[in-house]
């Protein structure tokens, strides 16, 4: 059953992620991310904030929590309008790929209910469910996605040694497990209580700031 997880979490899964930097393009231009160490610090912060939040939403969706409620919870957890738009756009792109891979009436229903796109984390959870994956696997895929995209973007933006970058990701792997565990437990509690409150809502002020700045740039390499 992990075969589907590898497919879903693969950076080459055609869901649009390759064109997004997760804020790292701004951090690079601001001089805040400039080498493997500062990239590691960036990714650690991202993983434990928006990564954790996305993992919780994905796990809850995979655990059968009502997607409409999760979409509202995701909106409230995303104060930046630029990030809300990005998340919905990526959600729509992911849904396109997921429906091709794992045809499922639930995915069709989600597409119909959110023509402008549902939040990426919610789609990820439902795609995982359609693929027969467990909530913990959905959480892990979301946590992975939260750091893998920015790391790849950073390789392109800074021309970092790809072996250094992949080593940064390898050192983060145990923390991915920790975050996915916490997210999965929170999701189970949310499902048990039928309430999104237990889901993580972790945020990072600079990621919100970066996203708004990025959307105002005239010239940029990444879509976000």
């Amino acid at each position: 059953m992990s075969g589907a997880l590898l497919l879903l979490a693969d950076g080459r899964f055609p869901a649009g992620g390759h064109a997004h930097s997760g804020g790292v393009e701004v951090a690079v231009r601001a001089g805040l991310v400039k080498d493997a160490d500062s990239l590691a610090a960036f990714l650690t912060g991202r993983l434990h904030t928006t990564g954790l939040t996305a993992a919780g939403l994905a796990a809850a969706a995979a655990d059968g929590f009502d997607p409409t409620g999760l979409d509202e919870a995701a909106d409230a957890r995303t104060p930046s309008p630029a990030l809300r738009a990005t998340s919905r756009r990526l959600g729509r792109q992911l849904l396109r790929a997921a429906r091709a891979c794992w045809p499922d009436p639930v995915l069709d229903g989600l597409a119909a209910a959110h023509p402008g796109g549902a939040h990426q984390s919610v789609v990820l959870g439902l795609a995982a469910r359609a693929a027969g994956l467990a909530p913990a696997e959905a959480a892990l895929a979301a946590a992975h996605e939260s750091v893998n995209g920015p790391a790849t973007a950073c390789t392109r933006l800074l021309g970092l040694d790809p072996y250094q970058v992949v080593a940064v990701l390898a050192r983060l792997a145990p923390e991915l497990d920790t975050v996915a565990d916490a997210a999965t437990r929170a999701a189970a509690e949310a499902v048990r209580r039928q309430d999104a409150w237990p889901l993580p809502a972790a945020s990072a002020p600079l990621l919100d700031l970066f996203a708004e700045r990025h959307s105002a740039w005239k010239v940029r390499l990444f879509a976000s």
């Binding site: 080459r12 390759h18 064109a19 792109q93 396109r96 390499l221 879509a223």
Partner: protein
């Protein structure tokens, strides 16, 4: 134009994108334009828009390396109203966006169809890239590869997926051939060797109506698309 065949030259199935919109109307024909930096892709798109906009409902999607540069060129030259031009960011990697992960481009095309449609033709321009960049058959119905004589007359001989497999090869800037010492006859012979029966057009967009042969080819594709 490969719509006539269920498989490509490698025996793989053709485009998976549905060819009909909801409501049963046939969607717009999608033509991709790729080629090296500076060969004249954006100029070709601009010239095609001018040549065809009176007779067709058109839209353009650009895949720039720097987001909006090509889109802004098109806007500045007012070849189409701004709402008919969309720029897709490619994260430093235009060929990923047109070949490996086409989702953002599909979104852009569908959004154009929804906002300014019905459309007859959508032109998708790749950011200038190397000779290996080609469009996915899931994204476009036909693709034009644009090279120029100033890039050297050996490009057709070198081949590559764009040169050998595109539905139309355009060799632009023929007016410069004497200046750069390029031999058009050699280029034509090499192109023929690489492409077999696939067409190659030599043109100079700098000349009045230089785009006419390409526009004619596009009209043929559209006629076949509609008849199919």
């Amino acid at each position: 134009m490969h719509r006539d065949h269920p498989t490509d030259e490698f025996g793989a199935p053709r485009a998976t994108a549905p060819t009909e919109l909801s409501g049963g109307r046939r969607r717009a024909l999608r033509i991709g334009l790729g080629g090296p930096v500076g060969s004249g892709k954006t100029a070709t798109v601009a010239a095609l828009c001018r040549a065809l906009r009176a007779e067709l409902s058109l839209a353009v999607v650009t895949n720039d390396i720097y987001t909006t540069e090509d889109a802004e060129f098109l806007l500045r030259h007012a070849v189409l109203p701004p709402e008919r031009i969309t720029a897709v960011e490619t994260g430093c990697c235009p060929h990923t966006a047109i070949r490996d992960d086409i989702s953002a481009n599909l979104e852009a095309v569908e959004e154009l169809e929804a906002s300014v449609g019905p459309l007859d033709l959508v032109l998708l321009e790749s950011g200038g890239d190397n000779l290996t960049a080609t469009f996915s058959r899931g994204l476009v119905d036909a693709q034009i590869f644009v090279i120029d004589v100033a890039g050297g007359d050996k490009i057709p001989r070198k081949g590559g997926p764009g040169v050998s497999g595109s539905d139309l090869l355009v060799v632009n800037k023929t007016d410069l051939a004497p200046l750069v010492g390029a031999d058009l006859a050699v280029m034509a012979r090499d192109a023929k060797a690489q492409r077999g029966e696939l067409p190659t057009l030599f043109c100079s967009l700098a000349e009045p109506d230089g785009v006419a042969p390409i526009a004619g080819w596009v009209r043929e594709q559209l006629a076949r698309w509609r008849a199919h």
